[in-house]
């Protein structure tokens, strides 16, 4: 018996049937990761721009730390967020442990550094082009942040999608914080983890293929939309 070919068949079958249970799991995966990406971008994009445009003592150290945080181990983040959200922890009263809200929080911690570090580079490159003109028009670097984020929007989607990719593929943090509760906090990745531990490798693999298909579709759609807009804009 070939597990991989079996998995392919099974994944096709899943995508054809769209079983409500599977849809719910996909829905939660997308909801958690998209929310985390939105929040992570709201924090990370201005943070990256700020680091690109300002000079202050300790800035180089900040950048090193930020770049290192792109590789934060999800399990460690999961554990830290678990302890923070635990009833005995500082934010225990929120009651977010073993809920999607807690999972979003863990993923925000994971992806904000990615969005910030990548957008810092993008904004720094754009600033080289724009600096004289913007200063001539009377902008200070701080006031230029919004302008550069808006004008760099096509390039910055790369940073946002890198964050999304990390979030949607990640299992270590959300399985600890979410608890992989059936019908409530089970996502694509935690379901894959569960099916692997149940030894149902074909089902796990099939879920993996479905996850990959979703990730590819979303990225392809966003890239196509971005490229079309970019061409129109001549950017």
């Amino acid at each position: 018996m070939n597990t991989i070919s079996e998995a392919f068949l099974l994944s096709l079958q899943m995508m054809a049937q769209l079983d409500p249970e599977l849809l719910r799991i996909i829905g939660l995966s997308l909801r958690v990761s998209l929310t985390a990406v939105i929040i992570g971008s709201i924090i990370g994009l201005p943070l990256g721009a700020l680091l690109a445009l300002t000079r202050f003592p300790g800035r180089d150290a900040c950048i090193v730390v930020l770049n290192a945080c792109m590789g934060l181990p999800p399990v460690v983040v999961g554990l830290v967020v678990y302890l923070i959200l635990s009833r005995s922890g500082p934010l225990g009263t929120l009651g977010w442990l073993f809920t999607p809200a807690g999972m979003v929080m863990a993923q925000v911690v994971l992806i904000t550094p990615i969005v910030a570090a990548l957008s810092r580079q993008t904004v720094a490159d754009l600033w080289v082009e724009y600096e004289e003109q913007l200063r001539s028009l009377g902008l200070t670097p701080m006031k230029a942040i919004a302008t550069l984020l808006w004008d760099g929007r096509y390039s910055l989607t790369t940073a946002v999608f890198a964050g999304f990719g990390r979030a949607i593929a990640e299992v270590g943090a959300i399985i600890i914080v979410g608890g992989n509760i059936n019908g409530f906090t089970r996502t694509m990745t935690t379901a894959i983890s569960l099916e692997t531990s149940r030894g149902d490798l074909a089902l796990a693999m099939a879920l993996g293929i479905v996850l990959l298909a979703i990730a590819i579709s979303i990225n392809a759609a966003a890239t196509a939309a971005g490229n079309a807009a970019r061409r129109r804009q001549g950017a």
Binding site: L30, S88, N180, S197
Partner: protein, 278 residues
Amino acid sequence: MNRRHLLGLAAGFALALSSTPTLAQDKFIVVASTTSTEQSGLFGHILPAFTKKTGIQVRVVAQGTGQALKTGEQGNADVVFVHDPVAEQKFVDAGFGIDRRLVMYNDFVIVGPKSDPARVANTKDVVAAYKKIAAAKAPFASRGDSSGTHAAELRLWKEADIDVKTAGAGWYRETGSGMGPTLNTASGMNAYAFTDRGTWLSFKNRGDLVIAVQGDVRLFNQYGVMLVNPARHAHVKVAEGKAFMDWITSKEGQDAIATYKIEGEQLFFPNYKPGVNS
């Protein structure tokens, strides 16, 4: 893409996020339980009946027994449902849990490769089997994760008077993971492994592994349920938690447990007796 399109996109996201029906569910309890109960499919079989009857959703967080007890101790669950009587008693004695009740049992088995290098097949005596495995230095995959199953496995090694920490070099492998991953490892390297029958029966990736040892009374595996002590954690949902414990020890709950079968085999045997609790 202009600003208006982007706003539209953001609104779309917001809409997608707001449609979270599961989040609106307010009547629920969190049960910290073990991988053996969740992964064997038992909860999937019995919980819908309880939820239908009471309207209480049960959120099961499946962990090792050690971790599940810790989860309860920190107040992150309302009910703990595990299988390590010694640890459970300590948990209650320390004041972390109350109203412990015995619910059901299943049994452990030793699985191993068909070729049976340690010649333990058809041995009933689990201690004798352990001695043979050690003597043959046959590969043995242990969970090594302080779970209830791991604790039971270690107690039996102790009874066999084998110190796996020193004598196990080269053949005794700790995977440091749950039952399923440990069975995956055992299947991959044709090793013996100590597992609960439920996980084994629902496990698909068996490879060459079969049950080698079963039926010894020492392989008996008791499950207990207890409420996290509301005196320590005021947010514990006492009424809902008790409702769950009452139901699972009621005739209806006990029958639900008894009727769960995989490939025609019953996995768990209800054994609640009123008055027998601590």
